[in-house]
């Protein structure tokens, strides 16, 4: 075995044992049945997947897609101008990129908790507003979809900004001058040059936000209370309190498949090739 293959061996073994094998187990569990005391046993069945088509669970799926989609849209809306600004910042661009990334590298749990601190009934926002006599009773800012959206957007904004910035860097100012030189007014330049050239970064950023938002667990758990149940919460619930591992596995599989398919289509698309 060549040296290089030997180098790859530890990683291959680890990924096989602790990434591939677990996935295989989950895959097989999704086709099995829940035992009396919460175990997993035969017979083999597709019951779990059929159950997922139940309106209750479909609504959870739908809600996950909806929240992930909305988060993505908000990240794109907020992130695009920011990425544009950074790409034009010359020498300071690395500083700004660091600033964008920095919150990301602090603890996710702490960041989510911070929103709890700010938004709850006795939290900062309500306390300040009541002190200023703007409101009389605390506003319900937490434990709803809005709070979850806020947490997700805040957390995943860098995931959009970075690929968007990488693409915008390629938007040479000479291209804009060339467009104007050839007769394009500012709006036409935006439509015919800026948008098409920045599209790949836009798509990549969107996918990189959508996938983790779809599978979010901690944010809806802490900020959504019991009311915002997304797929991630469903999976966690089935593997702990409800002790229905086969059903939980089926839900995991759906989540996993959706993520993998989205990523694969992104990697394959011409846009990914343009980014690398």
């Amino acid at each position: 075995m060549s040296l290089r293959s030997r180098f790859l061996l530890p990683a291959r073994v680890w990924m096989a044992l602790f990434f591939a094998a677990p996935m295989a187990i989950v895959l097989s569990y999704s086709f099995l049945t829940r035992g009396e005391y919460g175990g997993v046993e035969q017979p083999w069945t597709v019951e779990n997947f059929i159950r997922l088509a139940d309106p209750i669970y479909l609504s959870i799926l739908w809600r996950s897609i909806w929240i992930a989609g909305l988060s993505t849209a908000l990240c794109a809306l907020l992130g695009f101008p920011l990425a544009l600004f950074i790409s034009r910042s010359g020498r300071r661009r690395n500083l700004y990129l660091q600033l964008v990334l920095l919150p990301f590298w602090t603890s996710f749990l702490v960041r989510t908790y911070a929103w709890l601190f700010i938004l709850r009934d006795t939290g900062l926002v309500n306390t300040v507003l009541m002190r200023l006599n703007i409101i009389a009773t605390p506003m319900q800012l937490l434990y709803n979809d809005r709070a979850v959206l806020l947490g997700l957007v805040c957390n995943f904004l860098p995931f959009f900004v970075l690929p968007m910035y990488a693409t915008l860097e390629r938007l040479d100012p000479a291209l804009l001058e060339a467009a104007a030189d050839l007769g394009a007014r500012p709006f036409a330049t935006l439509r015919r040059v800026i948008i098409p050239v920045s599209a790949p970064g836009f798509v990549a950023g969107s996918v990189l936000v959508f996938i983790p938002c779809l599978g979010a667990y901690l944010t809806p758990d802490l900020l959504g209370g019991g009311k915002t149940v997304m797929l991630g919460n469903l999976v966690q619930n089935q593997f702990t309190t409800a002790r229905d591992w086969p059903f939980g596995s089926a839900a995991s599989l759906v989540l996993m498949l959706a993520s993998a398919l989205l990523l694969a289509s992104l990697m394959r698309s011409r846009m990914a090739r343009e980014l690398t």
Binding site: M15, Y29, T106, Y113, V235
Partner: protein, 253 residues
């Protein structure tokens, strides 16, 4: 688009991103337990230092993070180098996939693996299962950092070494490895932070006796906002921030 308007807008967004943490840090020095500022105080920090649960959690987290970081850095560095010299679609694909997989899915799948294997192995969930899980998801992060460094690395350096008589191993260990050293350190620090901060996967595969710091914080946060959590959070933010900044400095070398 006017530059100034863009600049003001960006300042707002950046402030929005950083505000929650800054507010948390400021209020961790609040002497009152309510969200009304009553004066500067270290009392919550003192309370945090004296809390036995927090201390245990911290110890567990540190042990896990250090062990996991060391091993994942080793494995990940070798993997990144191996891929750089000889493409492996399956390995790079699975590393990518492990990054993209939702944490909850990784967590439950590892839980399923462990419980299944415990039928034969007579073990239980504990620190070791947490370490194994952390290594599994950290390898990808390490590989990314090292791969990024290798992308700018001149292949012909190793070829020159071999031309001068060095074996493949020596070409790696005497030429490439020293050059990779800062990146390896950076990746290690990253793995440390990623492991230390993990809640979702850890909560699923940790045993009863191996509560980590995030798990303790989560439980406290669930019970309601406690100023002690504010203090701990502030400490974590500062510690992580410092480590990550150091990591990035190393990567720029």
């Amino acid at each position: 688009m006017k530059r100034k308007a863009l600049g003001i807008y960006s300042a707002f967004v950046l402030a929005f991103l950083h505000a929650p943490l800054l507010i948390l840090i400021v209020f961790s020095f609040n002497s009152s337990r309510f969200t009304v500022w009553e004066g500067f105080s270290f009392r919550w920090y003192r309370a945090a230092m004296n809390d036995p649960q927090l201390a245990d959690g911290l110890m567990n987290s540190l042990i896990i993070a250090v062990v996991a970081a060391l091993l994942s850095t080793l494995i990940g560095t070798l993997a990144a180098y191996g891929i750089w010299r000889q493409r492996s679609v399956i390995l790079s694909g699975s590393l990518y996939l492990s990054l993209v997989t939702p944490e909850i899915v990784t967590g439950v799948s590892l839980l399923a693996l462990f419980q299944w294997s415990f039928r034969f192995l007579h073990m239980r969930l504990g620190l070791h299962t947490v370490v194994i899980s952390h290594i599994a998801f950290s390898i990808a992060y390490v590989a990314i950092v090292i791969s990024a460094r290798l992308r700018n690395y001149d292949r012909s350096l190793e070829e020159a070494a071999m031309d001068l008589g060095a074996s493949e191993w020596h070409a790696f260990s005497r030429v490439t490895l020293p050059s990779l050293a800062p990146a390896i350190a950076a990746a290690g620090l990253l793995a440390l932070v990623v492991s230390f901060d993990d809640y979702v996967i850890t909560s699923l595969v940790a045993g009863v006796d191996s509560e980590t710091l995030p798990m303790v914080i989560y439980a406290m946060a669930r019970r309601g906002v406690s100023p002690v959590v504010n203090a701990v959070s502030a400490l974590i933010v500062v510690a992580f921030g410092a480590i990550i900044l150091l990591s990035q400095r190393l990567q720029e070398k």
